[in-house]
Symmetry: D2
Subunit: 332 residues, 4 copies
């Protein structure tokens, strides 16, 4: 279950406060330049030096432990690991019995029994997205010159993001946001009508990123207020260029060569520095809970690079799948 | 690619105007009552007798061709087939060179070469959802007493659906809509944090249904305007019941026992009875195209039963996956 | 479970005496010439007009029901179906309680409960290999000019096959045999060290063919009596040609360009026209059982074309997987 | 490709002389006692203190880096890593151009280009079976009280194993062997007729172990000299006990509750301390090659624990798959 992809396949492991976390990338072609320092810029972007993300120091130095030789990928699985040096075990054990609202404490307890590692969210932690970002760097190299960019376009319902975050911090509260993703230079023909449409595969990985609760392509939810005449993108060039891009670059589940466009909804951070009402599962009594520590006011700030990585992973896989098809064109 | 699911696994095949289409359901437990007539009510619901769906007669009689013996499933693959009796080959061949706006003609041509069966949309046709509906009937039986209901809540931006459709018909245009899905009685613990969250797996199949361009869970895109305090669902009972349900019944990718809630955006039908501008791929000249025949004004009208089927297929698979886990509770 | 392959993927369904059986081939490239009559020669080979196979008339006419348009594959799933016209329900129901020795009656009863379709072996029937043979025809076309040949080299421990069969028939008994497979023209580089070695993937499908109980590659079991010096195949040409072929054309799980060689052991037919001792599962009493009807004296006679088909399916998949790898050769 | 299993899923990574190698076990239930020291006995067995295995010191200390908390599995992926401290890079680079007979040098060069890590065999090294042994320990705990035992029954064609090895060492040669595997206490009903028969799945992983070139179940290749009357195992008890076990405990691909029996052929070690003829791929000239260092005279000595681990991994997966099946027995 902790794997994603058919040919370019990532497998994630680890916990927030266990010894390590990381990712294995299988199916990457050989001969791609890859060093540990190549991973750093995107890993840094995951920790933006902005208000609204936690100042807690995380040890995010990647270790490249297999699949690379002489600075190039070998074609064998690439293992990228992050050691967890900042381990705090004390705080979290209580959440097994007194689940934090909006968190996975209750569901993890029910699914995995008393054995779940609750520390820092354990395997559910957003810290596991470090592996996704690292795999995304490999994928981006593989799919070059496709260019992927994601950005936070609003937070807390406002496009004045820093102000919205400051307001939320003052109110000891948290906010969500919208991240827009765009990929340019995507070849025509990636994806399948059933069941691996580009929307299907991309939404699959996006919805596994903690806090993402909505995904739309092209005009998405706005398309329900449009007519067919308005929504249909007119093809204006033999290369498939369309006048508008309401379809988000995808028809029938398959890329059409126009920019791939999508938006994701990031819910507000569940951990807020307020007293919250919840239940004690052992006693059955309602109780008040205050979550200690520093937490992101707006987790959406970290999302752009994660969303880019997820997109790159999907495109790498779809490209390897598509190259397989030796279409035989008719002779006449 | 035409398969979905890990244990309860469906494989779709067929074209709109070829000899047949259908679905194979693998991994269904033995001993479930199943007859051809059980399939009919949901298949009828896919053809609602409302304005806005095409009056074209489709032969939708299901044939149950394997995996059932003595009126019960045997545990072997269940094959459900639909013969295509209403085959019209004449109209569609032209769309290879003159792609219809908003359709998959261009992408199919590029992906599959000159060999794609364009008739009625071929393998891209919405008619293939017949198989999904049939598999959904099997899945619903398997997951009983879980109850799944989907309904069209708005069309063309209006909650007066029939009026909106009539307006669109008069205007020789088409409209989209919103379908809300709800599953009640879902056990706690289905789904995984990475990469098979309930949102991931459900969105995967939903986005393979033609015309769906957005999926959100719980408050979804509205959650970005909420604070954490507002969005966090307070647990008010030992059984996990929450006061609100902004998370849509899912925390950390795992069902929490509250109703599973989601919404999908259905774009307006691409085929409209108007002259549309497109390009001739052979000549490179812009040209006008008029799509003949009768087409749904609002394809979203057909969606509720398809969305229900997709949800049932996902829940059947997640339930079989979860039952596997022999959790060993501590003795003390 | 009834699917095999990663890109070129076959899904089997059906029972021996149910309405139909067949196979779906997904992932086949578009543009390959394919008609129903192309399937017939190999399907005929599965019914060799020799003593030792049952004279029971089977209706083996294939129906090509999707994925082909204008005589060529479209890139969509190819559905090939065989109707079962010769249905006999009477004989087999008893085997649920009185399992035939050497058959799957007991295991099927335990696995699927009382719901298993026992008629003609149900889903366990060798008749399901019709689908494999049909899929093999498609695969052979795809991998041309690779040439695959399998032949029965011995039966009942003798290389005088027809005589051995006659002896067994007289003795109201049955015999097994050895089938040797060979593929020539296989490109270098197919397969993976872990876990998808050519031996792994090919043995996987071979061992799913009823009655195959042993598989060896190259010198196989004979290699345990050889020294390393004897077994090591010396490379004598830059194209990888080796002097001997003890490895069967595979090193480190990967094809080396020399002929792919393997042998399979086919056990004697379980159904024999003798009284046999077994147990009545209901009463717990030992009992004697006589299996009615005509059965193959030597099921191995049918195997060559099935083994060829299995090999072609594997090679088609491995070739599509390998073509994906855009190795970047160094510039210098 | 480097993954195996459907629910209990192992993913292998690493190279012989790179920074690390290891395995990730996904799908293991929570609550199983697991510590690093539990891994040691089987890891020691992989290095038997016998003549015939290399005296080279390997650092085989396992590190348990995720998926365990408080000495028990959590249900998250279990990462077990082995650091490579004994790295020797000098010797192997030459084998890219001058491939060792019987090794994967040629096929790796052709598949992965110039980028393959040849040191110690790289990702093809038998050292990667350390991960399989470690995962086997986890699997054995999960499937208890099933008992699995494998043993070397002959080497170099002789049952006097130590003498055969001494002879081979004196002759500067190597030998292969036969390993017999047996699993007792296997429940009835594991495996599937198509395509995941027990034979299929078990042979799949066995054939990915370097040097295994033959696999047979029950009487295997000897069954081709038996009649059906001899081969058919008579059921003599309601619990499915059979008088003989020529089928190796499997009928129709499904376990029948009798001991699971199989044999594997291990070819002689390819590295021998003799001058060998091969070709220089760059010059096209035949050349003589002497492989330096100490190498196992009989790699088959290490195999029993690896074969046990592979068997345990398969049974763990099949048991989790089978537990999923909520068969509905008829009420009457």
């Amino acid at each position: 279950m902790n794997s994603f992809g058919r040919i370019f396949r990532v497998s994630i492991y680890g916990e927030s406060h266990g010894p390590s976390l990381g990712i294995i990338v299988d199916g990457c072609p050989s001969g791609i330049l890859l060093e540990e320092k190549d991973l750093e810029p995107d890993i840094q972007r995951r920790n933006p030096p902005l208000e609204g993300t936690t100042p807690r120091k995380e040890d995010d130095r990647p270790q490249l432990l297999s699949g690379v030789y002489g600075g190039k990928t070998t074609g064998s699985p690439i293992h990228m690991m992050f050691a967890n040096t900042n381990i705090d075990s004390g705080v979290y054990e209580a959440f097994k019995d007194v689940p934090r609202p909006g968190h996975a404490d209750y569901t993890a307890r029910k699914k995995f029994g008393d054995f779940h590692d609750t520390r820092g969210g354990g395997h559910f932690s957003g810290r596991l997205t470090l592996g996704i970002v690292a795999a995304g760097v490999v994928a981006k190299k593989m799919i070059a010159p496709i260019s992927i960019q994601a950005r936070l376009t609003e937070a807390g319902g406002s496009t004045h993001i820093q102000e919205a975050i400051k307001r939320a911090q003052k109110a000891k509260n948290s906010i969500g946001g919208i991240v827009e993703g765009k990929a340019v230079g995507v070849p025509v023909g990636l994806g399948e009508p059933f069941f691996d449409s580009v929307e299907s595969v991309l939404s699959h990985i996006l919805f596994s990123i903690p806090a993402i609760k909505g995904v739309e392509f092209g005009s998405g939810f706005r398309s329900v207020q449009m007519t067919g005449e308005e929504h249909n993108d007119r093809i204006i060039d033999k290369d498939g260029t369309t006048e508008s891009n309401h379809s988000g670059g995808i028809n029938g589940g398959i890329t059409n060569g126009n920019p791939l466009l999508f938006r994701v909804a990031v819910k507000p951070t569940a951990s807020i520095p307020q007293m919250q009402r919840t239940i004690n599962l052992k006693t059955g009594q309602l109780t008040d809970l205050e979550i200690q520590g520093r937490h992101d006011t707006c987790i959406a700030l970290r999302m752009p690079v994660i969303v880019e990585a997820a997109t790159a992973i999907v495109l790498a896989d779809l490209m390897l799948l598509e190259q397989r098809t030796p279409r035989i064109e008719p002779s006449s």
